[in-house]
């Protein structure tokens, strides 16, 4: 009985000493702030994605019909650089951005070819494209593609030498 008590006490004391020696264990880390929840980009079916190279080839082919290209991300990014010919539709992670997107497409035929993109941050963290895609699907648009931006617009479009413009 005494032996068990000594073992138990030693274990408790040991844990306390380890915790005191290791600040990482002793003090809880401050929790990282979390962005608002959003529909993830991963919710977009693969069949609805278009690769940057594919879109660039389409834009550079004079004979190819051009889709309506909408940037559904942040204005600070759009102003610095956007796909040549793309319109700013507003961030789809906010209701105001979604409303702007709905208004932009309200008068369009449902079979209009539309490409949306963002590129604000790595694909799995983008708060906009999943929301924008779902909104357009909900409105009945049947020819919507989402440009797959693996890392960000700078690396995956601009630095590849694909056509860009800047300004609001």
């Amino acid at each position: 009985m005494h032996l068990q008590l000594i073992k138990f006490t030693s274990a408790i004391v040991g844990c306390v000493l380890i915790g005191a020696a290791n600040p990482a264990l002793a003090a809880p880390k401050p929790a990282a702030p979390e962005p608002a929840a959003h529909r993830p980009a991963a919710s977009i079916p693969a069949a609805s994605l278009i690769q940057p190279a594919e879109l660039a080839a389409l834009l550079q082919n004079p004979a190819a019909p051009k889709p309506l290209i909408l940037q559904v991300g942040f204005r600070t990014m759009y102003v610095q650089s956007h796909i040549s010919g793309a319109e700013y539709a507003g961030p789809a992670n906010e209701e105001s951005g979604l409303q702007r997107l709905r208004e932009r497409v309200a008068a369009l035929p449902k079979d209009t070819a539309i490409v949306i993109y963002c590129g604000c941050c790595p694909w799995n963290h983008c708060p906009n494209v999943g929301e924008a895609f779902a909104a357009l699907q909900g409105l009945g648009f049947t020819h919507v593609k989402v440009m797959y931006v693996a890392e960000n617009f700078g690396d995956d479009w601009v630095n590849k030498g694909y056509p860009v413009a800047k300004g609001s």
Partner: protein, 166 residues
């Protein structure tokens, strides 16, 4: 003469088509800037002479950015006395979003309100997070785009602070 004018026009057009994403490279001098902090006070890069500056572009909607910020606060507390100065620059379209977030999750370093012009002065901030290390002479010594390896970043900071103290 016309040929020169055409070449100049082509060069200007080419530059504009290339956009701003020729990203400020390691080895370049960091552009000087002044932007307001959350209290409205102007903050300049030049306000931190002799410091190793960690300049972090972030936004409240950027998950990977928010994951990094507690670490940066920890580094400011741990290495500040050795000469590290962290500066956060919010690229939110609406500064109120940054204010709300920082009110709930204060940082141990100043947060500035950035804009597209500041991004362009750094060669285009076209994806977040983006972090620069700027040495005490104002030269960019490292650039980390996206989900950086924070252990590597910290090792680089320690090495630079050790150099600085020699």
């Amino acid at each position: 003469m016309r040929l020169i004018a055409r070449i100049a026009a082509a060069a200007i057009l080419s530059a504009s088509l290339c956009g701003a994403a020729g990203s400020t490279a390691v080895g370049d001098m960091a552009p000087e800037f002044s932007r307001p902090d959350l209290s409205g006070k102007p903050v300049r890069l030049a306000d931190y002479p002799g410091k190793l500056v960690l300049l972090n572009f972030w936004a409240s909607w950027c998950g990977p950015c928010l994951e990094e910020m507690p670490k940066f606060s920890g580094w400011q507390r741990e290495y500040g006395a050795q000469g590290l100065q962290v500066i956060g620059v919010s690229l939110d379209d609406d500064s109120a979003s940054a204010r709300r977030l920082i009110a709930r999750h204060p940082t141990a370093y100043p947060i500035l309100i950035g804009d597209a012009a500041l991004g362009e002065s750094f060669g285009g901030v076209l994806g977040l997070p983006l972090t620069y290390l700027i040495d005490p002479k104002g030269r960019i010594v490292a650039r980390y785009q996206g989900n950086g390896d924070l252990a590597k970043m910290e090792a680089k900071i320690k090495a630079l602070l050790a150099q600085r103290s020699k």
